[in-house]
Symmetry: D3
Subunit: 135 residues, 6 copies
């Protein structure tokens, strides 16, 4: 009886898409307005999906407080009200596209969640633009 | 040409999380405010996903009236405006966590839906706290 | 330059609609399923609207932390995961309709918010059933 | 590192459910109000899911402008503010159920999207009635 | 203690914007795609706001069943799954813009709702395009 | 027969709350994380409300294309994918709180909209934090 449980959180960050090995022209052509050197920003929403067996004692897959605390420690306290490019270690050498932010978030959570649980991250950059990792 | 069709319904219920084989202290420690002996409540939203072949005569996977009638008979007429712990047979000896309500809902629908159809239930306890069964 | 600022919060409560001066039959006729003696419940959402002048020093109408703290102290810590009829003083002798919960919430906040601010409360009982007070 | 990216678009169309090989009575019995000979309509919302490897140069699965342009050319410019039965070639001999509109949309996009990408279409006929293809 | 209560309903209709006293060219210039002679359509959402005193016996402004029944009789049963231009008497000589549909809906409800209540109608043509009447 | 019509748009911007006449400590105490010198960001949503008489020729209060074009020219093309503090003239000497962004947006639109129309702006900084101007 495996069930998936979902938990949402949000963070509001500045970012800029940029590949430092490219010319200014190439960056502007590929990333357009997202390459603005002064940054722009988003209300990101992260949905964490944890899949596992239902514990017959509690009726829970996992105590969501554990998931909440991990999201808070690993993601929102580090990304929220930050400039992803300047303030967050992982994006100093990794372009903070919504794809890469989702992969980084997944890896941070995966390293701390018991291996009995499957994990998937959905990340919304806007209400109409979002990604899943892994697929 | 298998397609999944989705149908939503809602029910507004009181419930309490409690394991009768535990002490009062253990229940309070694990379930926190959800263990309030006077109950609390939620606007539950159920999304029923039915997967099958598209009938070339109708262009339908299934006449959604059939799905609607099953949800109404098996779920909303029995759970809506009820106290899940006191008024619903299935939860008199089963802790009404969102995981268990989803499993019970799935089992009720599965027993009445033709085996040619795959079935999945998503259940929202709040807009930000929800589960899928099966995964 | 008066601006209105809005702040949302939510609480998940059990309740029952009942007039103790009426007969059982009259209560059932008027309140229907909402009169269930074992209670049902909702995810209430409250939207607090505060109107005032923009402070030229801060660019704020009001520091929303003040509004948040009032909502938390006066409303969510007292209503959330409670049975409104049994656990909340104000509804021991007042029918907890969405209208009355909105009026009670407004009065609690009004008594503690500086008179320079106008105040309005919107309360959602479900996503499709909600009220404003005052109008 | 395969990631799924999602893109939404909408179109507002008239349609009618009808099987020309059936009698008037059979059409009315199966399709009910949806068989109205004068048509009714919907705000359709399409969500296109594209799955692929993240390009290490860009951090993108795919430049969403490519997806946008395909959706615009193949779907919204042909379906939006149209009568699906009368104005859209594909539905002149195919009943425009939400299932069939999703399959047609998928086939149009699939033919033009590089085979390295997986594709799925979700189509909303109303906020509470939607389908996925393929499953 | 006047409170406003809100009730929502929806209807899915075909329509066309057209002024019969104008030329084809003028209609196309002003109404663009909305002038398509084969119609297009929308999922309309109507929100009915009723303002009045809270009855101390019930805690209700009005029994929402009364509002529901009026919306159903006067609006949804007449507009839903219809072609507004062809099937609805009021729009045979009145252009069914979202403004005019809101005014017609208001007038239908106003004529049947007790004068002690204030009334306002909000009508959504799409989630992002809506009107209020009266203002 | 005055009707209000609403139109939505969005822009994704970086910003920072800061009063240059204050000390670093005072800015941090009042604005907290919002004072981050490297900026953070939001998906802003603006809802423009225009109130006027319904034109009996068109059934429109105003051709929404006019409103769209004004929003695009005055707001989204200037604020979207920008750093409000660094890239937008109006906020070089005005703290870009959601209150002030709403007032600036209103003033920009008001100067270009015919005086027969009333105007109000609602601005969302997040889905749960928003303002109206004027009130």
């Amino acid at each position: 009886m495996r069930v998936s449980v979902y938990r949402e959180a949000s963070f509001n960050s500045a970012h800029r898409l940029h590949n430092p090995s490219w010319t200014k022209e190439q960056n502007e052509r590929v990333f357009g307005l997202c390459n603005n050197p002064n940054y722009h920003g988003h209300n990101y929403k992260i949905v964490v999906k944890v899949t596992g067996e239902v514990d017959p004692e509690t009726g829970y897959v996992i105590d969501l407080k554990i998931v909440n605390d991990l999201i808070k420690e690993l993601i929102t306290e580090r990304f929220d009200h930050r400039n992803l490019n300047l303030d967050v270690e992982e994006f100093k050498s990794l372009n903070p596209t919504v794809e890469n932010i989702a992969i980084v978030s997944y890896n941070l959570l995966r390293a701390r969640l018991h291996q009995d649980f499957d994990l998937q991250v959905r990340l919304y950059e806007t209400p109409r633009n979002y990604v899943d990792y892994p697929t």
